[in-house]
Each structure stands twice: as C-alpha cells, then as structure tokens.
Symmetry: C3
Subunit: 341 residues, 3 copies
C-alpha cells in the first residue's frame, strides 16, 4: 500500500467508521490528544484495564481528526471518526503508519540453508541459519542471525526478528511474531538427583506455538520433557518471560514482561497476567483470570477473578519495622486468642 | 548407537535393572504412566522434591514396561524394570530416546576463526565466530551464531547451542551445556559515583565454569571485578538467571529460572534454589540450603534448611486490605503492648 | 597506550594523586587489600552504598601501593596514592589494567552492509549485519553477530558487544556500551482487546539513548507506542532489565539486574534502583530516589528517599504461618478495634 498521507475518507472506510467532517482532510500520523499536531489523527478511548484521563484534552486538541465513540462525538466540533471501540480502531490504524522497513521475497546469499528445506518463494530469508527439513511458509520473514533447527515448521506470515533461536522439531503456527533474542525449544530444566549428583533428563517433547501468537524479546519457551509445551492461538507474551517445560498457555491470554511460568503449569484462555509474576509449576489457572503485576501464584486458581499478592514500597525505615514484625504476627494472634477475643 | 526400538533386555542392562517379564519386548519411546501406549516404557518414582501421585495409574497403564522400585513391582503384573531409584533410571534412559540431531566433526566454511586457535579435530564448529588463542576440546559442539572471545578455553565435550556469547578469557570445563542466548563473561555492574556521575570500574576478573555444568537460555554470568566469578562442577542453572560479578555457585547446586544472584554472593554446594529468587550481594548461603521460589534472601544463611519469603495471591479486594494494613502492624503491636498483653 | 607495568609516578599523575613513597615502584595489577601481592596496587574506600570493612587489612596488606584518603594515609607506612575519593580513583585506574582485546579500524569481509551507510573509517565492524541508511561514528566498535536495523544512528565511541540487536530508527548517543544479547527497539507490549481477541498496536515511536549510557547483557528497551522511549545521558542498566515502551530513565540513574520498568514510567535523574525491582507502568519516580532490591513500586514517588517493600526469607515452617495469617490481619485489626483499643 501507499505511504501516508491518507484522506479521512480512506481511513473511515478502513475502520468502518462514521466520518463526521472533512472527507478530504489529509492525515500523516497518529498522536495522543494532548500532543497531536495538524495532520495527525488521535483517539479517545479506554486503554485495556485503565481509563486514561485524556477526555480533558479533547476540546483543545490540535489533531486534524479524532477517533471517538458516538457519545463523545456529540459535543466535538472537529473531524470525528465514530466507532464502537475507539481504542481498537486506533490499534488497527497504527498498521497504516508503521515506519518499519518492508521485507521482500529473497534468500540472502550468506544464508546457511540445510538439506530438504521447503522455503516458500514469497518468504524473506536474511543472513540466518536454517537446518535440515525445515518448512518456511508464504510471506514469512526470517531476520538476520536467526537460527532455526532441524525439522522445524514456520507457517505462513510469520515474522522472526533478528537473532531468534528455534530449536529442532518446534512447530510455529501462522502469523507468529517473535522478537529478537527469544529462544523457543531449549531444554526444560529437568534432572534427577542421584545421591547429590544431577542426572540430566533429556527433553523428549517439543514446543507447539499456535496462530497469531506474539513472543517478546529474550523470552524463553522451553521444550517439554515427554509431551510438548503448548502456546495456544492468539497468546501474547512480552519480553524476558520464562515458560517452563510442559506449560500450556491458553488461547488469547496475555502475559507481561519478566513473568515466569513454572513447568507443567496450565494457564487458561483469555487470562491477563501482569509483569514479574511467578506461577508455580504444576498449577492450573482458570480461564479469564487476571493476576496483577509482581504477584506469586502458589496454587491453582479455580474461580476467575482478579488476584494479587504484591506489596508496594514504603519509606525504608517504616518498611524495616514491617519486616521485623511480620514474623511476630503468629505470636500476636496467639496472644490475642489468649485474651479471649 | 542405533535408534529405537530397543529390547527390554538391552534397556535393563543399560539401567542395571532387574527385568521381570518379556526380555524381547520392543520399546520405541518413553511416556508417563497415564499416557503411555504399547511400545512405550514408563516409570513410577519420586520426582525431586515431590511425590507425584502417579501410583493410581500403575494398574491401568498401557505401557509395555514400567521402571519400578522393588516394593512397587511386587503387585505389578506387567513387564517391570526394577531399580533402586526409578526416577534416576528414567533420567538415564531419556538419553536413548532423545531426537536431537547429532553433530559431526567439521568446521563450517562460513565460520570465522581467529589466530592461534586450537580446535580438536573431533569438534563440531558451525557458522560461528571464534576469537584468537581459543582452545576447543574434543567432541565439543559450537552452534551457529555463537561468538567466543579471545583466549577462551572450551574443554572436551561441551555443547553450546546457537547464539551463545562467551567474552574473552573465560574458562569453560568439560561437558558443559550452554543454551542459546546465554552470555558468559559480560562486565559486572561495577561503577564508582563521582559527584553524581558514574565512573566505570573495568572488570579485570573473568569467569570460570567447572565440569558438567548446564546453563540455561538467556542466562547471564558476569565476569569478576578483580577476582573471577566461579560456577563450580555440576551446577545447573535454568533460563534467564543473572549471576553477578564475583559470585560463586557451589558444586551441584541447582537454580531455577529468573533467579538473580547478587555480586559477591557465595552459594554453597548441593543447594536447591527456586525460580524468581533474589539473593542479595555479598551474602553466604550454607551448603544444602533450599530456598523456595519467589523468595528474597536479604542476609546470609548459616544453617541449612528450607527457607521462604514468598506470599501467594489472594482475591484482589482481600489483598488490598493486607497492603493497607501491613504498614499498620507496627501500630497494632504497640497498642497491644500498651494493653499489657 | 603501553601495557603494564606502570610506575607509581605515572599512576599518580593519571589519578591526580599525591604520591607518598617510591615513585619508580612498578605496578602490574590491581587487587583487594587482603589478596594483593607485590606489584599490585590496592585501595581503601567507600563502595557505593556500603562501607566495606577492609580497613583491618590495611596494616598487613602486601600491595606495593594503596590508594587512600589523606586521613587513612596518615598512619600507613607503605606507598600511598592520596586522593579525595579512593574508590573513584580505583575505578579510573582499572581502565589501565583491563585485559580486554583492543579492536582496530576495519570492516570484516563477512559483514553484511546495507545501502547508504555512513561508517566512520576509524570504526571497527566485525562480521555483523547493518541495515540501510545507518550512521556509525568514529571509533565505534560493532561486535560479531550484531544486527543493526535501517536508519539507526550509532554515535562516536560506542561499543556494542556480540549479538546486540538494534531495531530500525533507534538513535544511540556517544560512548554507549551495550552488552551481548541486549535488544533495543523491539515492539512495546501494546494491544487493544476486541471482544477477547488482541489487536496489535504497531509501535510508531522509537528509542533514544543518550551519551555515556551502559546497557547490560540481555536487557530489553522497547520502542515507544507513539512517542519515543528515552534513556537519558549517563544511565547505567545492568543485565536482564526490561524497559517498557515510553518509559523515560532520567540522567545518571543506575538500575541493577532483573528489574522491570513498566510502560510509560518516568524515572527521575540520579536514582539508584536495586535488582529485581518492579516499577509499575505510568508512575513517576522523583529525582534521587533510592529503591532497594526486590521491591515493587505500585504508585508514584514524589519525595526522594529510600524505599523498600522486600521481605526476607524465614525458615519455611515459620514462613508458612505468616502466609496463612497475613490475610487474617484485617480480622485481627477489626477485633482489636472492637476491644476499644
């Protein structure tokens, strides 16, 4: 498609929006309400989980057009793109303004390709390393420095950024985005203790990644011990996440950065898990559960809802008292009981 | 060695197991008791730290043979491989069924090799980068995209997966497995504050990794400030672990993913440290200490035992009360004392 | 410059130190007071935040010279290098004893270079991958396996170790050190929820890194959603840190390993943030704030000071009581109030 500018009319059609205002107004970018300049489109909408307090900027915005709900559009005198969910419309519209360089179909002459590979002619293969018996689907993009092991399947429309590593036998679905430094299919942390020495348990399973998954930079998804580790369709993983062997992440679940999912944990569908969370191994999390950031989940959650265990900082001197007193809680409760309360 | 199938007789010999049943029964794989099919071997044993409740599946398993303790074998009518520690026997047996592609002795024509390298002819060197004065031992495997700095020693039988980075002067022992994205020998986080500005302390030490160590994907082991950072024999590190400069991890200690070991911390031998743990810098942990997941260790531990500091999630509304009330604990205790309790 | 040895006279000039003792004494290395041998220089000074208890070793040290404050030098009979801040002087001196192999101006023949690149002839370009329209400044060092996207600027004196990834459009200031596996400019974790499905918000911003920044191994700095993510001058980031999109890290702030900074968080200047800390998104941290390790910061901090929320381990059985009783704190406080206290 053509680069910007786009007319508001073109944008309205793309977003299935009702356009109130100048159809031919030219748009060259996207910006928040308070920072937008002429030629930019903005939006007023709920951000996942938050209601950003941007409404106060609506009257004074310099944006050439604003994506709005019908209710918010009523009193707005500028150009309005009216949709049911302005935040979703904004998300869709960002794809038109992304300045990411486009890849084209080619195989870089320094790419190292194994035997019996089946690389679709529309794929873009940078100077990377691809093992034997690998399938790369249509329109897939494999970045520089990626290393893809033997017998891996990368389905249509995948985009692996630079220096992604996929171990042998892993299966990746359609339109999967994997960011740089992510490692998919390394050995799970399995070993048996033989009188103090650790005996490696070779990890005989693999990893199956569904369609429309996104995996963040430097995130690790380990291969399974006997069965496979599974990332279901539509899962979104942020950066620096650890997914232990034989974990299963349910469809359309989103997990923020630095979270660790223990081996064998089963996370439900449509969950939202904050950053720096730890999920113990071998637990199950019900569908649609929300875990707030920095929490530790020590046992299974069977009822969906919002769960937390993070504390927040206090001035250090105050906090030291808590640290000292917390272990005395037990004594306090006992004494209290003795008082007959 | 030959690929599967193997006879039970061959397996029994390898495991030093007593075989009860059909010596010629053919085995093609390994599976858990409840999922095993004909042709697969299974096991019933203690998993490190846990007793998995698999015993109920023993009577109904479809496995062609089961690795069992003598006690459990008594009432089992199927083919039994009787050993002292079935979990250890299972671990050993996985090496026979690992589908990992084998490497062979070669140097890839696109490998970049420095001057005065001493690469054993049995080593396998993929399209990686190796600096000057590097020693690579017998049967070592260096994966694609690895970068090994000057004056590094990689001893016999090491296996570095793709995109591992080893900085200059690092010494790696025998049979060390390092997974993709791990970085060994980057600068420790050392600096001096000069009226607000940070002056870099060049890290003059290195990293010494012992024999039979395994280091997980994207794990970092920093080089020492003056002395070396040391990972002793048999240590097992999971993914995304940070080992600060001048830390020492004692022999045969295992550390789960996302744990951070502060600079100068001395961890004893035969410790087990859970995932997402933080060990402060400059503390010492006694041999055979166990730290459960998500704990923070703020000071030295001199008595071995099991230690914890993780909380677990509550429903968010309940948890908010705790967060508000915890800083009041001090007041509560004081009032309580005033009551004369 | 020449390799060691150096005379004490040369060292004194470099450090602007007052030299008490043998000007021609030859120094070949640096070591701590208690481990120093003849020919080595040592120091006695405050380490950032700590006063290391090294004074007891001063009288018995075998070091050929010691960097000291005037006060500590009074009673010292050996060779003394007297400065205002011995720890800072030690930091500066380490640059003379660093054994890191030097790079020289060249472009490796296997480097993959894009169109319209402007690479300074004094830069050192290993077998890495550089996109189109990239500027690489004077004396910059780009390690093996690095991948630098289109339209990136890397200013003078930068040093990128092996396998660093810089996405398109990122700007890196002067003398920035980036360690292996770090990923700068990957997509921020932005998406809108459309009836359960996640719609990707393309990240239209970039990352701007100031001068004299150091970024640790496997650390991730995400590109901004609409505006840029900003790392100001002199910031020091340790390993395995996550910096979310549109965060801003104030000048000369230092952050220890495994810390996560949420999207849109604004961290002040001259802050010190410990390891394994979590800063929630969209909060602000005042200049000169100190956050101790393993803390979670749930809301903005407007008054500089020292803040904490980490607990420390207890014996597991004791800790289990706390875990059980903590949610009862609310009940306890209520009962207590009923008692009329």
């Amino acid at each position: 498609m053509m680069p910007p500018p786009y007319t508001l009319n073109e944008i309205a059609k793309f977003l299935h929006a009702e356009l109130k205002g100048d159809q031919q107004c030219l748009i060259i970018g996207v910006a928040p309400l308070d920072k937008a300049e002429q030629g930019q489109v903005s939006f007023l909408g709920k951000v996942a989980g938050f209601v950003h307090n941007y409404r106060k900027h609506l009257a004074s915005t310099k944006a050439s057009a604003v994506i709005l709900s019908a209710a918010d559009a009523k009193d707005f005198s500028g150009n309005a793109l009216i949709v049911d969910n302005p935040y979703v419309a904004y998300a869709k519209l960002t794809s038109w303004f992304c300045k990411e360089p486009k890849s084209f179909a080619y195989v870089h002459p320094q790419a190292v390709l194994g035997r019996n590979c089946n690389i679709h002619p529309s794929a873009s293969i940078a100077n990377c390393t691809i093992g034997n018996d690998v399938n790369i689907g249509a329109d897939a993009i494999i970045g520089a420095g990626c290393v893809i092991g033997d017998n891996v399947t990368v389905d249509d429309g995948c985009h692996f950024y630079a220096n992604v590593v996929i171990y042998y036998d892993v299966q990746i679905g359609k339109r999967v985005i994997i960011h740089s430094g992510a490692v998919i299919g390394a050995d799970g942390f399995g070993m048996a203790n033989d009188k103090g020495l650790w005996i490696k348990i070779h990890q005989l399973g693999s990893v199956i990644v569904g369609d429309d998954v996104e995996i963040g930079a430097n995130t690790c998804v380990d291969r399974g011990a006997l069965d496979d580790t599974v990332i279901e369709n539509g899962v979104k993983l942020d950066n620096l996440i650890q997914i232990g062997h034989n974990a299963r992440i349910g469809a359309h679940t989103a997990i923020a950065g630095c979270t660790a999912v223990g081996g064998g944990a089963i996370v439900g569908k449509y969950c939202m898990i904050g950053g720096d969370v730890t999920l113990n191994g071998h637990i199950e999390i019900a569908d649609k559960t929300i875990i707030t950031g920095s929490s530790t989940v020590g046992r299974s959650i069977t009822n969906p809802g919002v769960y937390s265990s993070a504390l927040t900082v206090q001035p250090h001197r105050e906090w030291l008292k808590v640290v000292v007193q917390l272990p005395q809680l037990s004594k306090l409760i006992n004494k209290f009981k003795q008082l007959g309360a």
